[in-house]
């Protein structure tokens, strides 16, 4: 039999395909899995796979194990170490990029200086009585030693 549209299929392939079609399928191969099917579990599995594949997952994993220095000097020294390091493999290079990025952000945050103290503006608007008035009121009371 000559095919109208050539598919590039060889004679051997054709024979094998026909044999497969003729062979009856065992019931055991199409049996239901042990775990019952549910969309929720499927979504969870897909999300987990996505998380593993994504770059964000790697960033979180690399940054999680990194302890940020408390002072600016220590942070700069650490950045110098990371910059000087030459990782051989690709994952090491990626980790280096992630860590140096995170450290740079941390150095920027440290170099901003302390936050301004909160100002109680209502205290500025609150008036105090004059000292001479307070002194005069005090002088009006009888002496404590006399009573």
């Amino acid at each position: 039999m000559t095919a109208i549209f050539p598919t590039g299929e060889t004679e051997t392939d054709r024979v094998q395909r026909e044999q497969e079609l003729e062979t009856p399928v065992a019931l055991a191969e199409v049996a239901a899995p042990d775990v019952p099917f549910a969309f929720a579990s499927l979504r969870a599995e897909l999300a987990a796979r996505e998380r593993e594949d994504s770059f964000a997952g790697e960033v979180a994993a690399a940054a999680e194990g990194m302890k940020l220095p408390a002072t600016l000097g220590d942070a700069l020294a650490r950045l110098r170490e990371i910059t000087a390091s030459r990782p051989a493999d690709k994952s090491g290079q990626k980790a280096k990029a992630i860590q140096s990025e995170k450290l740079r952000a941390h150095i920027h945050a440290l170099s901003q200086g302390p936050t301004a103290p909160p100002i109680n503006y209502s205290a500025f608007l609150k008036r105090e009585p004059s000292p001479e008035a307070v002194a005069r009121i005090r002088s009006l009371y009888p002496n404590a030693k006399k009573s």
Partner: protein, 189 residues
């Protein structure tokens, strides 16, 4: 030690306007004593209420019966003043009237100081002319004649206080006078 030009100028101003300076200081002192008296008696607008609030917030230490009776009397007196707007307005009016009474003395002092400085400027300009003419040069102002002009005295606290009193038309503003306006003129007072 070379003589300080500014000190020399101000000493002469003080010598030439001594009477005006004395009367101005007396007027300022009179106003200050009245303000102190009104403030001590909590008669100025709002002060009695402030003192009452402070007294109510703080507990009375060593509250003997005599002290408590005295406390009650003081509170009643302050409450009477705090409730009576007329009394407070009268106190403000008295203080502001005294404030405006200072004006002739301030004007006289400013005039005397300005005249003295002008005389000194004219003398400095004459000296500069003679100096430049001796060298065959045209006259030009130097720091000798510029300095007296820059030392003009004006009482900023009085001017602003007067503007506030007259502009607000008798609302609760009670300005104060400051001797620091006269700067080096009253440095030793």
């Amino acid at each position: 030690m070379s003589p300080n030009l500014k000190q020399t100028i101000m000493e002469r101003v003080r010598r030439e306007s001594g009477a005006e300076l004395k009367s101005c200081l007396a007027a300022f002192a009179s106003h200050a004593s009245l303000m102190q008296e009104l403030s001590a008696r909590s008669l100025l607008p709002g002060t009695a209420k402030l003192v009452l609030e402070k007294m109510r917030a703080e507990p009375l230490p060593d509250a003997s019966p005599e002290k408590l009776l005295c406390h009650a009397k003081i509170l009643a007196d302050l409450q009477a003043v705090a409730d009576n707007k007329t009394v407070q307005n009268e106190a403000r009016r008295t203080a502001n009237k005294k404030f405006l009474e200072v004006e002739p003395a301030v004007n006289a002092l400013e005039l005397a100081v300005t005249s003295s400085l002008e005389r000194q400027t004219a003398e400095a300009v004459q000296a500069e002319r003679e100096f430049f003419e001796g060298h065959g040069l045209p006259w030009e102002p130097t720091s000798l004649s510029k300095l007296p002009q820059s030392l003009a005295v004006q009482s900023a606290s009085f001017r602003s206080g007067k503007a506030q009193i007259l502009a607000l038309g008798g609302t609760g503003y009670v300005p104060r006078l400051s001797m620091s306006d006269f700067g080096a003129l009253v440095a030793d007072h």
